[in-house]
C-alpha cells in the first residue's frame, strides 16, 4: 500500500473525527438566564472559547416613555426597571429631580427613605441569593430566601400599599410616616434576619461543593472591573472600594455607621460573600435609622406642577445591583426632556465575557448568577 493510498484511507476517518466548535444559544428561554437574556456561547466540548451577549428582548422604551409624562407621572415608570428593587429605582429618579430642582428633602424623609431602601436592598439580595443558589443546584435556599423576602414585601404593603412596584417616593420626600406598629414589626424582622442569614451561610458558605463551584470561577481583576465600569458588589468583589453610599453620600447616608464588604479575588464566591455581608450591613443601617429617626416634615417644598430649571443633572445611588444613575435633562418644561438611566445590570453584564472565557459552561451559569442581573433593568 503506497503512502497515497494510506492517506486516502485515513482522510475520511479524519473528516469524521474532526473536532469543531459548537455554538450554543444559552437563552433567551433558559432557566439560568434570569429572564430573556441570550448568550451565544462558542464551545469546545464544554469549555467556553468566546461568548456574545444578545440583549434587548425586554426593551420597553422606558426612557422615551418618560419624555411623554410629566415629571411626577414619570416616577412609577422607573419602578419597572429593576422590578425586584423597585424602591431603589424610584429613589434614583426622584433624587435626580430633586437635585435639579434644588429641593431639600427633610431629614425625616431621608431617614425613612434609608429604611425602605435598605429593606429593598435586602429583599433584592434575597431574590438574588435564592436564584443564584438554584442555578448552582442548591434548591432549598431559594425557598428560605423567598420566605424572608415575603416578610419584607408585607412591610412594604403595610407602608406603601403595594408589594412589588410600590412607587415609593414622591418628588420632595415621602408620602407617609410609618403606620402604627410598623416599626415594631420591622424591628422584629431585624432580630430574626441575622439568624436566617446565618442559616443561608450554613447551607452555602462552608459547603464544599459550593466553594468548589464558586472559588476561582469567573475571576475579574480589579483593574478590568474598573475599566469595564462595573459597579456594586460585582465591582467590590474584586476588592475595589466603591460604594456610592460612602463615596457620594445621598439621603443622609453619611450619618450611619456601616462597613463596605470587599472581596479579594473577584471570583463568584467573593461576589457572593460581598452580597451576603451587605445584607448584614443593611440591617445595621436600618436599625440606626429607626433609632435615630428625627422628627419633622415628610415633604420638602415642592410646587404641584414641577418645572425644574433648564439644565441637566446626574444623580447616582447605590442600588442593589450597583451604581444606578439618572441623567435627566430639563428644558424648563413640565416634562422630562431626556432621561437616561445608567443601569448597573446593563453595565455589569459587559463583564461576563471576560469572566467566562476559558471556564466551563456550568460556570457561565454561576457567573450570570453572581452578576445579579435583572433583565428589566438591562433592557429598560
Amino acid at each position: 500500500m503506497t503512502a497515497e493510498q494510506q492517506a486516502e484511507k485515513v482522510s475520511p476517518l479524519r473528516e469524521i473525527m474532526e473536532t469543531r466548535e459548537v455554538e450554543l444559544n444559552l437563552g433567551p428561554q433558559h432557566p439560568a438566564t434570569h429572564g430573556v437574556y441570550r448568550a451565544l456561547v462558542k464551545l469546545d466540548g464544554e469549555r467556553v472559547l468566546g461568548m456574545e451577549s444578545i440583549i434587548g428582548y425586554l426593551h420597553r422604551g422606558i426612557e422615551k416613555w418618560a419624555e411623554y409624562r410629566n415629571w411626577t407621572q414619570a416616577t412609577p415608570i422607573f419602578d419597572r426597571l429593576d422590578y425586584v428593587g423597585a424602591v431603589l429605582n424610584c429613589h434614583g429618579y426622584v433624587g435626580a429631580v430633586e437635585k435639579l430642582l434644588g429641593v431639600e428633602v427633610p431629614k425625616k424623609a431621608q431617614y425613612i427613605r434609608v429604611v425602605l431602601d435598605e429593606l429593598q436592598r435586602i429583599a433584592s439580595h434575597l431574590v438574588w441569593l435564592g436564584t443564584h443558589g438554584l442555578d448552582i443546584g442548591a434548591q432549598s435556599v431559594l425557598f428560605y430566601a423567598i420566605r424572608e423576602r415575603e416578610a419584607i414585601m408585607d412591610l412594604f404593603e403595610a407602608m406603601l400599599g403595594q408589594r412589588l412596584l410600590p412607587n415609593a417616593y414622591p418628588i420632595g420626600g415621602v408620602r407617609f410616616d410609618f403606620p402604627k406598629g410598623w416599626v415594631e414589626v420591622c424591628r422584629r424582622l431585624l432580630d430574626v434576619l441575622p439568624q436566617r442569614i446565618d442559616e443561608y451561610e450554613g447551607l452555602l458558605t462552608g459547603n464544599r461543593i459550593w466553594r468548589q463551584r464558586t472559588i476561582g470561577v469567573g475571576v475579574i481583576s480589579a483593574k478590568d472591573a474598573i475599566a469595564l465600569s462595573l459597579s456594586g458588589p460585582t465591582l467590590r468583589g474584586s476588592g475595589v472600594n466603591f460604594d456610592v453610599r460612602k463615596a457620594i453620600p445621598y439621603s443622609s447616608y453619611e450619618d450611619f455607621d456601616f462597613e463596605i464588604p470587599l472581596g479579594q479575588n473577584g471570583d463568584v464566591f467573593d461576589r457572593y460573600l460581598c452580597r451576603v455581608r451587605e445584607m448584614r450591613q443593611s440591617l445595621r443601617i436600618i436599625r440606626q435609622a429607626l433609632d435615630g429617626m428625627p422628627e419633622g416634615e415628610l415633604r420638602g417644598k415642592v410646587s404641584k406642577i414641577i418645572r425644574p430649571p433648564a439644565g441637566e443633572a446626574y444623580f447616582t445611588i447605590e442600588a442593589a445591583k450597583g451604581q444606578l444613575g439618572f441623567y435627566i435633562v430639563s428644558d424648563g418644561g413640565d416634562k422630562p426632556y431626556r432621561v437616561h438611566v445608567k443601569s448597573p445590570s446593563f453595565v455589569n453584564l459587559q463583564g461576563i465575557e471576560t469572566m467566562c472565557k476559558g471556564n466551563l459552561i456550568a460556570d457561565v451559569v454561576a457567573v450570570i448568577g453572581s452578576l445579579d442581573i435583572v433583565l428589566g433593568e438591562v433592557d429598560r
Binding site: V22, L24, H30, P31, A32, E46, G133, L134, D135, I136, G137, A138, Q139, S140, L142, F143, Y144, R147, L203, L204, N207, I209, W210, Q212, R213, L360, I361, A362, D363, V365
Partner: protein, 350 residues
C-alpha cells in the same frame, strides 16, 4: 409438554412478574409523591396536598396529565430512535427487580419452599449491574436522536459519568460478594444473618463508595449533571408527554432499585434485626416473610430519605469535578477497600 412444565417455566414466572410489577410501579409512583412532600418539608412549604388526602392521588393525576399531553417529535430528530429511547431508560430498571429477594422463603407445611423472588439467579448481582448499564442507552439515544445541542450535551455528560461511576459501584459490590462468597442476593442476606451483623460494618468503605456511586448512577443531586436543569436542561429537553415521563419513571425505578440493592448488600436485606427467624417461623409460617418485606421496605426507605435529604441540601457539582471524584477519589478507595476486605476475609471472617 404437559401443563405442569408450562406452568413452571412460563405461567408461574408471569404471575410472579405481575404480582411484583404492581407494587413496584406503585412504589415508583409514590416515590415521586414522597420526594415532593419531603422536599417541601425541608424547604418550609407543604408540597402537593390538594389531590386526595395528603395529596396521595397526585401521582395518578400527574400520570393522567402526562398521558393526555401531546407527544411532540422535533422535525430534525431521528423519529424512530427518538421514540424508542425512553423504553431503554425505564425498562432495565424494572428488569433489575426480578432478582431481588424480598423476604424469607415461605415454607409450606408439606416442606415445599417458595422463595419470594421472581428469578433466583446464581449471578444475580452481576445480572443487575449488567442490565442497569443498559439504561445509559436510553439517555445517549435521547441525546443523539433529538437533533438538538442541549440533549447532546446531557447525553455526553451522562455517558462519561456512567462510565466513571460504574467502576467504583461494581468494585464496592465486589467487596460484598467477596465477604458473602456468592453472587446470589438471597445468599448474601443469609451470609449476613449467619455472621450476625450486616456488611455495613466490615464494608463501611464499600458502603460509602456504593452510596456516592449510587447517587451518581441515578443522576441525582449533587451529580445530576445529565439533567442539570439550570445549565443544560438535560438530555430530555425535547421530550414531552408520556415519553418524557418514562425517563422519570425510569429514574425513580432506578432509585428504588439502588435502594433495594443497597439494603440487600449492606443492611441485611429482609433480615429483622434482634429477632431470631426460627421463633417467627415457630409462631406462624408466614409471619417471618411478611414482616421481612416490611422491614426490607423500611430499610430501603432510609436510602430514599437519604437521597432526598441530599437533594434538599447540596448544590450541584461541575462536570470536571464530578469525573475527578469518580476516577481520582472513589476508584482508589474502592480498590484499596477490595484489598482490605480480601485480607479481612482471609484472616478474620473465615
Amino acid at each position: 409438554m404437559d401443563f405442569a412444565t408450562i406452568m413452571q417455566y412460563v405461567g408461574w414466572p408471569l404471575i410472579k412478574i405481575v404480582i411484583l410489577l404492581i407494587p413496584v410501579f406503585t412504589v415508583v409512583a409514590y416515590m415521586v409523591w414522597f420526594e415532593r412532600r419531603l422536599l417541601a418539608f425541608f424547604q418550609s412549604r407543604l408540597g402537593p396536598n390538594r389531590v386526595g388526602p395528603l395529596g396521595l392521588i397526585q401521582p395518578i393525576a400527574d400520570g393522567l396529565k402526562l398521558f393526555l399531553k401531546e407527544d411532540l417529535v422535533p422535525l430534525n430528530s431521528r423519529p424512530f430512535l427518538f421514540k424508542i429511547a425512553p423504553i431503554f431508560a425505564f425498562f432495565p430498571a424494572f428488569v433489575g427487580f426480578a432478582i431481588v429477594s424480598w423476604a424469607l422463603p415461605w415454607v409450606t407445611p408439606s416442606g415445599k419452599v417458595h422463595p419470594f423472588v421472581v428469578a433466583d439467579v446464581d449471578l444475580g448481582i452481576l445480572f443487575v449491574l449488567a442490565i442497569s448499564s443498559l439504561s445509559i442507552f436510553g439517555i445517549i439515544l435521547a441525546g443523539w436522536s433529538s437533533g438538538s445541542k442541549y440533549p447532546l450535551f446531557g447525553s455526553l455528560r451522562s455517558a462519561s459519568q456512567m462510565l466513571a461511576y460504574e467502576v467504583p459501584l461494581t468494585l464496592s459490590v465486589v467487596a460484598v460478594v467477596l465477604l458473602a462468597g456468592s453472587f446470589r442476593l438471597s445468599d448474601i442476606v443469609a451470609a449476613q444473618q449467619k455472621m450476625g451483623w450486616y456488611y455495613l460494618f466490615p464494608g463501611i468503605l464499600a458502603f460509602g463508595v456504593y452510596l456516592v456511586s449510587a447517587v451518581a448512577e441515578t443522576n441525582r443531586v449533587p451529580f445530576d449533571l445529565p439533567e442539570g436543569e439550570s445549565e443544560i436542561i438535560g438530555f430530555h429537553t425535547e421530550y414531552s408527554g408520556m415519553r418524557f415521563a418514562w425517563y422519570f419513571v425510569g429514574e425513580y425505578a432506578n432509585v428504588t432499585l439502588i435502594s433495594v440493592l443497597g439494603t440487600t448488600l449492606f443492611l441485611g436485606g429482609y433480615d429483622i434485626p434482634f429477632v431470631n427467624d426460627a421463633t417467627l417461623y415457630a409462631a406462624h409460617p408466614w409471619l417471618a416473610s411478611i414482616l421481612g418485606v416490611g422491614v426490607f421496605a423500611a430499610k430501603a426507605a432510609l436510602f430514599a430519605v437519604f437521597f432526598i435529604w441530599i437533594r434538599a441540601t447540596w448544590p450541584r457539582y461541575r462536570y470536571d469535578q464530578l469525573l475527578k471524584i469518580g476516577w481520582v477519589v472513589l476508584l482508589p478507595i474502592a480498590l484499596a477497600n477490595l484489598v482490605v476486605v480480601a485480607l479481612l476475609k482471609l484472616w478474620l471472617l473465615r
